[in-house]
Symmetry: C2
Subunit: 113 residues, 2 copies
DNA sequence: CAGCCTGTGAAGCAAATACTTAGGTATTGA
DNA sequence: TCAATACCTAAGTATTTGCTTCACAGGCTG
């Protein structure tokens, strides 16, 4: 059940509005800790915890040059969430198709009688 | 900021593994409270709280006939999450395309010199 | 109508989460 | 070299989350 743990980490990271806004920012381009923190009314250590959650989930990566740490989005990882959603959609659509088919059969039977 | 609040509710609902498993079950087809609860090692009132979160997020709907409450998936609502992810992807792909283009230009300049 | 289902409501508790303050460390520019 | 910058670590706190137990309401069945 390693897969479940991965999904867990990604969806947990996505569940917080601050973290989602950071991801929105990083989708536009890489940024440093203080650039990312600037829009938020929050002390830096609090904010850095969010970055740490994002990095643990591997939705982002970072590297430090000198005293500046730069974050970057990790597009691959988003597929964990996308795939989960796609799979659900696949399931219910298959089911609804079966139901449509069933209704259609019923109507045909009806008209033949 | 209504849109943000909606996104919030959906991603929060999706962040819990129990709730995600319920959604997996409901994608396959509607089910009652006790059917949904059966796989989980959890007291019913705890479990019902998860159902309540899911219903508040509007990822599911329910109706009660007699003493039995039946839950159903609400496919439309999943688009909130899907759209958020799609929008991020759109952004970083646009950016990476621009970067590719820039590199290509550089190389052309190089070969002309 | 007695008793068993199926689900609800309320209160409480422990752990996780999101935040704070205080006090660093390493880097860099004057 | 010294002070400002950029970030990090540790410890503590309030709130939220996820769970429990206990008690009960309403519907169904013999």
């Amino acid at each position: 059940m390693v897969q479940a743990a991965v999904t867990e980490g990604v969806f947990y990271a996505l569940s917080n509005p601050t973290r989602r806004k950071v991801l929105e920012q990083l989708s536009v381009g890489p940024a440093t800790v203080s650039e990312l923190a600037a829009p938020f009314d929050m002390k830096l250590p609090s904010f850095v915890q969010h970055l740490s959650v994002l990095e643990q989930s591997r939705l982002v990566t970072s590297k430090k040059q000198g005293r500046v740490r730069t974050y970057e989005i990790a597009p691959e990882r988003f597929k964990v969430a996308e795939n989960w959603l796609t799979e659900r959609r696949r399931e219910w659509e298959a089911r609804l198709d079966r139901f449509d088919h069933y209704v259609k059969q019923l109507k045909e039977k009806e008209s033949r009688s």
